[in-house]
């Protein structure tokens, strides 16, 4: 039977972000025209943000299984077994588009959303991290200040410590700031929950905030490029209420006292439509029936369309065993939270929406969640990036002066001005505070420590997206290893521009290939993640591919954790790993020569892995007094950070690298797989044995002591001068 195709208004399709082709698929599948409500529901669920129609086929290439994985992608968050009965639950998610329009609320609700994802797994959130990108200051101060205040405003009120993250500034983010929020939670393994709508007849309980008109079409809005009319989309940005979410958090934790709860699901992008459909989609054949007239509302005159698409924050869907609703409602009531039974689980495989007695929508669950036709695009490699001829590069004149300029670069300067605006101590578990490599939280009642970090150098990704993604994984792993913890698992947030441009799609393909390769090589499953495309406001250049890697690691005894600062005099300072002429894409090139050119540093993943093994063996044998990884700015910036963080200087003989390694590369090159460590002099023989056994190069840089960094005959800079340059900029 062929349904008569009524002319569908193209403008209307654009409003719900569906293409005419997609509309035809819908009509074919339904064997009828969708009504207005159905069209809106399909529009949000088929948006890139919800359906991953452009990236899904590529994402299947990522490794997602491995030892200890309790939950991979597809749930509200991933989960890893960390031992002694505990599961770590974590995920990273973007809130880029809302933050571009309304920085404070965009960032705040991004934090709120990722917290709910972790709560939905039954876990108590223990930490937050934020990976941020802005255009250069001062022009982008409005974005920067708003986002930092929004993150603090929400997290501080929630009583969840914000312990880490990163901030970088680049022209490409001027119109497209990136706000990626990561949350880590803990739950006893046997209480880990899954958001599955099991049990026909079980009740759907909506709890938390009343539903308003805010955020309608938020998911669709996140799936198009920002343009001048975007500020008119401000109503598509939600407003956060962290106090309400705090009550919701505690009430959900109290649900552990009852066995009446079958599942918890966050209401995020695409609101009720998405959360109900996703919950049902996880159980074969399941459906749901919702009566919108039962949904508590914030304002009058809302239509079923508004109710189904609202992205009002601080709401959760709870699947409750039939007959036990009062028990669960009482728990929420204890926190002065309203809850309402709005529907039930069915076995007809459809999401049916009624308004009182009137049916307003009825759509097959698979059509909603899996029906969007996957987009098969073709990638084309962009024009070659500028190459780098090292022989043309002027020689390094005064390494000390260069060091001070690098420390004052916004991309390298101290982040204290940011993290002191976040409560990073609440919870009494932060055993490594922000400011070093990875943060670490202890699991109370055990000796276990969970290290966590986010990382991505998008300049590398711009120059070579495949290698850049690999370097991001390796760098995140180094951050974890530098604390003495073993990298465990990854959550990723892939931020890119408009994939309809072949060169951007190519970047997406390469990014995912690089990510998959590095994660496989380092045995790191990717258990959760998010893709944010269309980060190119009209008239602005597209953003660099920015695959932000969130990683967690584990240390069996946090009493053995390592930190970056040098605190003792007379220790040996060693460079672990080999240095090469890796100046391509470096901060040194950018700051000193205003160049973004060359290939990013070559990465040997087998060698990287061996270096991590050496570091963990040395840490496990108590040989190391401190450890810090070498990243942007190279060896000398890392060494300077060790001195500033600990307050003790280093005296070194002149640095004379063996040919063909150049002096500028030795000081400021960004070769991967390197750490600065300090050891007691008597630990040296054992260190050398370990290094030989793992075939990793170690070299003696100098001796700790005094309050300057000195390389004999080359330069001398005091810690005070370095701090002067490094602190107080942002």
């Amino acid at each position: 039977m062929r349904v008569e195709e009524k002319e569908i208004d193209e403008k209307r399709l654009r409003e719900v972000a569906l293409t005419p082709e997609e509309y035809r698929v819908i009509v074919d599948q339904l064997q009828r025209q969708p009504n207005e409500v159905e069209l809106g529901m399909l529009g949000v669920l088929w948006s890139e943000h919800c359906s991953y129609k452009t990236s899904k086929a590529l994402l299947r290439r990522l490794p997602s299984s491995g030892a200890g994985v309790l939950q991979g992608p597809g749930e509200n968050a991933g989960a890893i077994d960390v031992g002694q009965g505990w599961a770590a639950v974590f995920k990273i998610e973007s809130h880029n588009h809302p933050s571009a329009i309304e920085p404070y609320q965009g960032a705040a609700t991004g934090v709120g959303g990722i917290i709910r994802d972790v709560i939905a797994m039954g876990a108590r959130p223990i930490a937050l991290l934020d990976s941020l990108r802005f255009g250069p200051l001062p022009a982008s101060r409005h974005h920067f200040e708003g986002v930092v205040a929004g993150i603090g405003g929400y997290g501080n009120c929630m009583g969840i410590p914000t312990v880490g993250g990163e901030v970088y500034f680049d022209d490409c983010y001027a119109q497209n700031p990136l706000v990626n929020a990561m949350c880590v939670g803990l739950v006893p393994v046997h209480r880990l929950m899954r958001a599955r709508a099991e049990g026909t007849g079980n009740s759907l309980l909506l709890v938390g905030a009343d539903t308003g008109r805010d955020g309608i079409h938020g998911a669709s809005f996140a799936s198009v490029e920002l343009d001048e009319a975007s500020s008119e989309r401000r109503p598509a940005v939600q407003v956060g209420n962290p106090f309400l979410e705090k009550c919701l958090l505690e009430a959900c934790m109290d649900l552990a006292h009852t066995d009446a709860v079958v599942a918890i699901q966050d209401l995020g992008a695409a609101g009720l439509t998405s959360s109900v459909a996703e919950c049902a989609a996880r159980v074969a054949g399941a459906g749901a029936r919702i009566d919108v007239s039962l949904v508590p509302r914030r304002e009058k005159g809302m239509t079923p369309y508004h109710v189904m698409l609202s992205e009002s924050q601080e709401r959760m869907l709870v699947v409750v065993e039939r007959g036990r609703e009062p028990e669960v409602a009482a728990i929420f009531q204890g926190w002065d939270l309203t809850s309402a039974v709005i529907g039930e689980v069915t076995d007809d495989g459809c999401l049916t929406v009624v308004d009182g007695r009137k049916e307003v929508a009825r759509l097959p669950i698979p059509l909603l969640t899996e029906g969007a036709p996957l987009r098969r695009l073709t990638g084309i490699a962009p024009a070659a990036r500028p190459s780098l001829d090292l022989d043309q590069l002027p020689p390094l004149v005064d390494p000390g002066a260069t060091l001070l300029r690098l420390l004052a670069s916004p991309n390298l300067s101290s982040r204290r001005g940011i993290f002191r605006r976040y409560d990073h101590m609440v919870g009494d578990s932060t055993v490594i505070a922000p400011g070093g490599d990875a943060a670490m939280l202890r699991i109370k009642g055990t000796h276990l420590g969970i290290a966590m970090t986010t990382d991505c150098n998008s300049r590398y990704c711009h120059l070579d997206p495949n290698l850049g993604a690999q370097l991001a994984v390796a760098e995140a792993a180094r951050n974890i290893v530098a604390t003495g913890a073993r990298p465990l698992a990854v959550t990723d947030c892939l931020n890119l521009a408009n994939p309809d441009r072949p060169e951007v799609y190519w970047e997406l393909e390469e990014t995912i290939a690089g990510l998959a390769h590095a994660c496989r090589a380092l045995d790191l499953p990717i258990v959760s993640g998010n893709v944010s495309l269309y980060n190119d406001a009209s008239g602005s250049s597209p953003i660099h591919p920015t695959p932000v890697i969130g990683m967690i690691g584990l240390i069996d005894d946090y009493g053995r954790r390592l930190q970056a600062g040098l605190h003792n005099e007379g220790d040996f300072v060693l460079l672990v790993g080999s240095s090469h002429n890796d100046l391509g894409g470096s901060e040194y090139l950018k700051v000193e020569h205003d160049l973004v050119a060359g290939r990013p540093p070559a990465l040997d993943l087998a060698r990287e892995k061996a270096t991590h093994k050496l570091m963990l063996e040395a840490a496990g044998a108590d040989l190391l007094r401190s450890a810090h990884d070498c990243a942007e700015g190279g060896m000398l910036v890392a060494l300077a950070e060790c001195c500033m963080l600990g307050g003790v200087g280093v005296r070194c003989p002149a640095l004379k690298p063996e040919a063909p390694v150049r002096v500028d590369s030795a000081f400021f090159g960004e070769s991967p797989g390197r750490f600065i460590v300090s050891v007691l002099s008597r630990a040296m023989p054992e260190m050398q044995t370990l290094a030989r056994r793992n075939r990793v190069e170690i070299s003696l840089i100098g001796l700790t002591g005094g309050d300057v960094i000195e390389f004999e005959g080359q330069f001398r800079v005091s810690i005070a001068e370095m701090r002067q340059a490094w602190e107080g900029l942002i």
Binding site: G159, M425, T430
Partner: protein, 234 residues
């Protein structure tokens, strides 16, 4: 010794205080719900940090009307130990149990960092384990911790020695550069005249174990536990 930790909706230091009392100090712990009308035999009531009721109006302005607060007021009037930390200090000021008010930080920003405090009174139930004019290191975490009082109140506080903690540098000098929030006279904590109601912005429950960066906070918890013991023995 039984500590009562009051939980308002929006409180978040309750579990940290509870952890220190129960797991570090090894004393009895009783959580008290804001709707409770009974202090359940507690020897010291802690009003912990957080954003009680969201602090949307003014910090502590709504919490003072909670049912539990009437009992806390009566308990304080009878000489019971009441200890407000961070948001708890703000609530005690709003409730009139302590003079003055906490206003927005001078920086207009939230601040979470370590501070040094000069202990000016060690004859109190809360500070007996500190030495005279000891400098202790305790973190702050607040957006509205700038202590304010009118000149008359302020001079009364100073004359009667009610200032317990002052922000200072590592050497114990009370200098402007050590003041993290613009508090008048660098005030970080005060006590009522009778000496049984203490309010402080810094968080002693965050520095009661070495792995968290310091143990000076534990001295205050120990002081209270010991004071309660003395009462029991006498």
């Amino acid at each position: 010794m039984k500590f009562g930790v009051v939980v308002f909706p929006g409180t978040w230091s309750d579990r940290d205080c509870g952890w220190v009392i129960d797991q570090v100090l090894g004393e009895q712990l009783q959580y008290l719900w804001h709707k409770d009308t009974d202090l359940k035999g507690c020897d010291c009531i802690i009003l912990p940090g957080g954003f009680a009721y969201g602090d949307y109006l003014r910090t502590g302005a709504v919490a003072r009307f909670a049912p539990i607060m009437e009992k806390v007021g009566e308990f304080a009037d009878r000489g019971g130990l009441v200890w407000g930390i961070c948001n708890g200090f703000q609530i005690l000021c709003e409730a009139g149990l302590l003079p003055g008010a906490l206003t927005r930080n001078a920086s207009l920003e939230f601040r979470c960092e370590w501070t040094n405090l000069l202990v000016e009174r060690n004859d109190l139930a809360f500070t007996s384990q500190c030495s005279d004019r000891e400098v202790i290191s305790v973190p702050i975490s607040h957006g509205e911790g700038s202590y304010f009082a009118d000149p008359a109140t302020l001079s009364r506080l100073e004359q009667s020695g009610q200032v317990v903690f002052r922000y200072c540098d590592a050497k114990g000098d009370v200098v402007a550069s050590a003041n993290p929030n613009g508090s008048l006279h660098n005030i970080a904590g005060i006590v009522n005249k009778r000496g049984n109601v203490l309010g402080m912005m810094p968080h002693p429950e965050r520095c009661s174990e070495a792995e968290l960066g310091g143990t000076d906070g534990l001295k205050l918890f120990r002081s209270v536990a010991e004071a309660a013991m003395r009462v029991l023995v006498s």
